[in-house]
């Protein structure tokens, strides 16, 4: 297990390297001078020179890269050009609502999808299976932000039940927090649920054909025990895998859903930063989210290695 963890950690280095190079290149490959890109076309030559000096743009590019990387590794991603606060601080402030939303949506997704997927697999080929699968197919075809707009139209405009948009932080009490997050989380959880339902059904079907499931049935175990202990448990790896792989889609979806519901999260941060040409914030946000993806997948790989010894020995 320890050698598996070490191997897995070492394999992160090249991935993070690529991520760092791409994020660095983003601003530095821009046509023209990054300083004038940052300051916009109306800046005076003196201002541009001053910023070049400040950003260290007069040094050779590889040196700039390692300087930037060194700072990034110690958690210093520079300051926002808009209000001079450190980028990491700005990011964390805006990340909280996004994370809340993503987690809430993921919980809704899993809670709906597991029973639906298992049920569809157990009734393979019957009408109910067809109905659930058609529903899931339509579900993965509705982008979450569109789902959000349609839900607003239905619940807030047509039925007048819930607030159209807005946000209350966790400090206002859990219930108020969740009330404002309910529609956004359903919008985002819906597509996630559809996706996980499909994966769960496929994974269940694959496991159900195994001899040990037949053995369990022959032993006279109850249906519930067979489904939960013998089938679902072994079908869990592809399900976990998709949960890890969809982390980026979930965050990306959350960014746009937040924009729909006026939640002050990463979506608002990045849209505002684009308008303000606040490049350090944009760069830092992209870097940190990519980093989060890598960490989540590391964590999930470690869980597999723990759950399934075959994974450990395979690599």
């Amino acid at each position: 297990m320890i050698s598996y963890i070490v191997k897995r950690l070492l394999s992160l280095i090249p991935v993070l390297g690529v991520v760092a190079v791409v994020v660095f290149a983003l601003v530095h490959l821009s046509p023209g001078d990054p300083a004038s890109v940052i300051l916009g076309p109306d800046a005076s030559a003196a201002d541009v020179d001053r910023l070049r000096e400040e950003l260290g743009l007069n040094r050779p590019v590889p040196q700039q890269f390692f300087l930037w990387l060194g700072n990034a590794l110690t958690g210093d991603l520079g300051n926002s050009l808009y209000n001079q606060t450190p980028v990491t601080e700005v990011f964390l402030d805006y990340f909280r609502p996004t994370l809340s939303l993503a987690i809430f949506a993921q919980i809704i997704g899993i809670a709906v999808a597991l029973p639906m997927g298992v049920f569809a697999a157990l009734n393979r080929g019957k009408t109910i299976d067809g109905a659930l699968m058609s529903f899931a197919l339509v579900g993965i075809s509705i982008p979450s932000f569109l789902m959000g707009l349609l839900l607003i139209l239905f619940f807030s405009v047509f039925l007048n039940w819930l607030p159209v948009a807005g946000y209350a932080p966790l400090s206002d009490g859990l219930l108020t927090h969740l009330e404002f997050l309910l529609l956004p989380a359903i919008s985002l959880g819906f597509i996630q649920a559809a996706l996980i339902t499909r994966i769960t059904r496929a994974a269940m079907l694959e496991v159900m054909n195994n001899a040990y499931v037949k053995t369990a049935r022959a032993k006279g175990l109850s249906r519930a025990v067979i489904v939960i202990k013998h089938t679902l448990r072994n079908a869990f790896i592809p399900i976990l895998e998709i949960i890890g792989q969809t982390f980026t889609t979930l965050i990306a979806g959350a960014v746009v859903v937040e924009f729909v519901f006026n939640i002050p999260g990463l979506g608002q941060l990045i849209v505002n930063s684009v308008e303000r040409r606040d490049f350090p914030v944009i760069q830092g946000t992209v870097l940190l989210v990519a980093f989060g993806y890598v960490l989540i997948n590391l964590f999930i790989d470690l869980i597999y290695g723990f759950v399934d010894p075959r994974v450990r020995l395979d690599q």
Binding site: L26, L137, S141, F145, L146, L153, T248, V255, V256
Partner: protein, 302 residues
């Protein structure tokens, strides 16, 4: 003496006939696959609507008419008008064209690049390590965030949107092609080709590539769908296709501000997005069943 050529033309004719039969059999099998046919049908219908739709309306997508602003659907404006009095129907049609163009360009470009990366990295081990680490790194970025930052730096043009999406989605194609090619590479007939002295290029493109095409097509249809979604998101956030040019995403953005009074600005472009993506997803599922009947996983691997 005259027998030999006679025999060879016979053989050729039989071969041709067999090929034809095989083809018609494949067409029959495809038509028997209801999912694939439905998906293809829906996609074709949407393409036709986007192509022909604007021709039957007297309005232009950029014509502003302040007197007629925010009018509900009527005989004059089939899908109503927006906050500038522009005709939503025509804008939705042009927006659909833009979406399809972007989806198609991204699917084609990332397929071409992804196939080359996938095949060569499956064939050359040292290259594999390098290329796969790069694709791992690129896959860590949420497409939308990377696209927003690229567009913030390089400016919001349709080309920049397409290029960024190609960068983000090429790894998805390369991965699938590579994993298929790795399996094919170990087959005895590839070894036989080596023994016969076939060149690497010939082996890779004539013998390994055709065996990866089926999963390539399935993955490409998936990339088509996600690029359309991502483009719609970008335009919705105001960093995609620059306004006043219509795209499904920026019509939705305009509609969001008046959602309490003008439902038609959300429902019609929204329905179009769902239609396009649903068509692609059904087609993708159907093609998967059709092209590899052995895999039971009717689920896209991301």
């Amino acid at each position: 003496m005259t027998d030999a050529p006679q025999f060879s033309t016979d053989l050729k004719a039989t071969k041709n006939r067999l090929k034809q039969e095989q083809r018609s059999l494949a067409i029959k099998r495809f038509l028997a696959n209801k999912l694939a046919v439905c998906g293809l049908g829906l996609t074709v219908v949407i393409c036709l609507i986007a192509l022909l739709g604007p021709l039957i309306s007297p309005h232009e997508p950029l014509d502003i008419n302040p007197i007629d602003r925010l009018k509900p659907p009527s005989l004059e404006h089939w899908m109503g008008t927006d906050n500038f009095g522009r005709d939503i129907y025509v804008r939705v049609m042009y927006g659909t064209r833009a979406s399809l163009l972007i989806g198609f360009s991204v699917a084609m470009l990332s397929s071409v690049i992804g196939v080359a990366i996938g095949l060569y990295s499956a064939y050359f081990k040292p290259l594999d390590h390098l290329l796969m680490r790069i694709t791992d790194g690129l896959m860590a970025f949420p497409a939308i965030l990377l696209a927003i930052s690229v567009i913030a730096v390089f400016g919001p043009t349709t080309q920049n949107v397409i290029l960024t999406l190609v960068v983000v989605y090429t790894p998805l194609i390369a991965r699938v092609v590579r994993s298929n090619a790795l399996v094919v590479k170990e087959q005895p007939y590839i070894e036989a080709l080596h023994a016969l002295g076939a060149s690497r290029t010939r082996i890779i493109w004539r013998h390994i590539f055709p065996n990866t095409v089926s999963s390539l097509i399935v993955q490409a249809s998936f990339v088509f769908a996600v690029s359309i979604i991502t483009e719609a998101m970008l335009s919705f956030l105001g960093v995609g296709i620059p306004a006043p040019h219509p795209s499904l995403g920026n019509i939705l953005y305009d509609g969001k501000n008046v959602i309490t009074s003008a439902w038609w600005m959300t429902v019609f472009p929204g329905a179009m997005i769902i239609g396009i993506v649903l068509g692609q997803n059904i087609l993708g599922d159907g093609l998967r069943d059709f092209l590899d009947p052995h895999t039971h996983k009717a689920v896209s691997k991301r």
